[in-house]
């Protein structure tokens, strides 16, 4: 696009500076702190802390809740997007816009709103009482945290899926029909593989923030649930043990990298299939 290499480098410079200061330097800091002790000696002891029950249980709980959130988001978003791509473009876009609306509001604010819905005397229970139904205790349970995460992260699943599905050329479906595929076969052999890249980026974009969240679990979990994000926050702000906090962040990053590798492998295999 840019004719000379000089020109290209010039446009690349701002990003490089940005990446250097805000991505590279912090990463180096985390790795440095994570692999040293208080006196600055190299050690793996900080990483070994994850073998203690209170640490691995919180990581385990985070992974479970993140997986549940991702799966529910996928199950909600996929049929929705399938229906929407069939609608006229203008209608589809408006409905997608409505789904993205939650993003216009601050995450903390909308999560606080969920708090008032789930509370003991909250909106949900008031409605239930009005209908003479028994109360539901949702606040400060894993369910509440999962619902809060689904609400906040669903748009990140809907958007890439919708884009991927709407990009599929309609004539491909016609060709599939023409060649005798029934609707299930069209879906499983044509639609699903072609939408996979969108699904994969959606999964990544939902799974990673769900795994690392600490605000949603603090607000809707009443601090009764300890997620790995809360533990890391505590190490930095309460215990002031940057070494331990950084080590836990490294462990969390490893899980994120695993997630990305899996999705990349999937992505690659679908591309090879296409070829």
């Amino acid at each position: 696009m840019f004719r000379s290499i000089k020109m290209r480098n010039l446009f690349l410079a701002p990003f490089c500076v940005w990446a250097g200061i805000f991505i590279f330097v912090p990463l180096v800091c985390i790795i440095y702190y994570g692999l040293t002790d208080m006196s600055g000696n190299f050690t793996f002891d900080n990483l070994a802390i994850i073998s203690h029950r209170e640490y691995y249980s919180s990581l385990q709980l985070s992974i479970i809740l993140a997986l549940v959130t991702t799966i529910v988001c996928l199950l909600l978003a996929y049929p929705l997007c399938l229906i929407l791509v069939d609608k006229a473009k203008s209608v589809g876009t408006i409905i997608i816009l409505l789904f993205v609306l939650p993003l216009w509001m601050n995450t903390l604010l909308s999560t606080m709103a969920w708090q008032t819905i789930f509370e003991r005397d909250g909106i949900l229970n008031q409605v239930l009482r009005l209908l003479s139904l028994p109360d539901m205790t949702l606040i400060n349970t894993p369910t509440a945290v999962v619902i809060g995460m689904i609400y906040n992260y669903l748009p990140y699943m809907v958007l890439p899926l919708y884009v991927a599905l709407s990009k599929i050329d309609k004539s491909i479906f016609e060709a599939a029909r023409d060649l005798g595929a029934n609707s299930w076969q069209t879906f499983s052999k044509v639609t699903l593989p072609l939408s996979l890249p969108g699904a994969i980026s959606g999964i990544t974009m939902v799974f990673i923030p769900s795994l690392t969240t600490f605000a949603i679990s603090a607000l809707l979990g009443g601090s009764k649930l300890l997620l790995i994000g809360n533990v890391i926050e505590q190490e930095f702000t309460v215990e002031y043990d940057w070494h331990l906090g950084s080590a836990l962040s490294i462990i969390l990053m490893i899980f994120i990298i695993i997630n990305m590798v899996i999705t990349l492998v999937f992505d690659k295999s679908t591309k090879e299939d296409e070829n």
């Binding site: 203690h52 003991r120 005397d121 606040i139 601090s223 002031y240």
Partner: protein
């Protein structure tokens, strides 16, 4: 490596601070104050500047733990700080504070209650380093319309009847203080076997607890979302005024008597100004203004007579009978190892 990181940090910080803080000449008539957020009535600072011509540079922190590294690493040279009891002890232990010159603090000698200096001895054994500014106890706030049993013991927080209506404090020391007191132990317990027993009690209590909270306790008590809450007496005064159904009780087993005090840092560059500032804060007219803004009980004995607001003046929460705070314990710094032990146990309570 550490140096390279430090240099990088400084560079980054420098770039983003707009490079504006470099011109700090020692000639300036200033005092650097580092205290809790919303802890000083801003009007008193203006008065101080007008009377003395000393410019106050005010920074705030929200936990003792976040304040400590900023002071110990010398990021900014603060003169006057207002930490809590156990943290003052930690700072004395680590040689971060200097003894005060009480000849320059006549107002402190005159107005701060003798009892508060006596209580301060648990973290400042010779009363050399600190002047009390605010104090309080931890107790139970309860809704008189919902709680039918008498609230005079921590044991009520283990009563099945109040399942899902109990709020606990989300901090290791405050959480463990309660079972330790029920067991008749010190709140500065260092015997790990006793702490493990206390942990078992907290695990047993967890299903009854609605949430572990810090500031949210105020909203949840006022709105009636919870009926029993562990709370600092400073908040209690404002809550009882906001919702008349709420009452504050200090359990008979004993509780934490906390004190936040003025101290001067070892490397203070404005020693004279620092003393003037502390002395000014101890003046009765200034203490009244701060009390009215804060609502936290004050160790300044001259305040009560100067108050015009009858609600405040007659509040047993703000000005309790002296017997309520006799024989109460104050947190001590237990050392790094013990601190992490408390934290680990607290995490275990949360994951169990």
């Amino acid at each position: 490596m550490k140096k390279i990181l430090a240099v990088l940090f400084v560079m980054v910080a420098f770039v983003f601070s707009g490079c504006g803080t470099g011109k700090n000449d020692a000639q300036k008539n200033e005092v650097y104050v580092y205290t809790w957020g919303d802890y000083i009535n801003p009007a008193t600072l203006e008065m101080f500047e007008k009377e003395t011509g000393i410019h106050v540079v005010l920074d705030t922190f929200d936990t003792n733990e976040s304040m400590y590294p900023r002071v110990s690493e010398g990021a900014v040279h603060y003169d006057v700080i207002c930490p809590s009891d156990y943290m003052i002890q930690k700072m004395i232990d680590n040689d971060l504070l200097q003894p005060l010159d009480f000849n320059k603090l006549p107002e402190a000698k005159k107005n701060i209650g003798e009892h508060f200096f006596k209580q301060s001895k648990s973290f400042d054994p010779e009363n050399k380093y600190s002047v009390p500014y605010a104090w309080g106890v931890v107790g139970i706030m309860y809704n008189t319309k919902k709680v039918t049993d008498p609230v005079d013991s921590w044991n009520i927080l283990w009563n099945e009847k109040y399942k899902d209506r109990i709020l606990m404090q989300d901090s290791p020391r405050d959480a463990f203080m309660i079972p330790l007191k029920i067991m008749g132990r010190s709140l500065n317990e260092t015997d790990k076997a006793q702490l493990d027993l206390a942990k078992e009690m907290l695990v047993k209590q967890k299903p009854l607890v609605q949430a572990y909270v810090i500031d949210e306790v105020k909203d949840k008590m006022i709105s009636g979302e919870a009926d029993l809450g562990v709370i600092y007496s400073g908040e209690a005064l404002l809550l009882t005024l906001a919702n008349p159904d709420l009452q504050f009780a200090i359990p008979k087993e004993g509780t934490n008597f906390w004190i936040d005090s003025w101290v001067i840092t070892k490397d203070s560059e404005n020693l004279d100004n620092a003393h003037k500032f502390i002395n000014f804060m101890c003046r009765p007219d200034i203490a009244v203004m701060n009390f009215e803004e804060l609502g936290y009980p004050t160790p300044n004995t001259a305040v009560r007579d100067l108050l015009t607001n009858e609600d405040y003046k007659n509040s047993p929460v703000a000005f309790p009978d002296p017997s309520t705070y006799e024989n109460q314990e104050t947190y001590k710094y237990l050392g790094n190892e013990m601190d992490s032990y408390y934290n680990r146990l607290w995490m275990q309570v949360k994951v169990d």
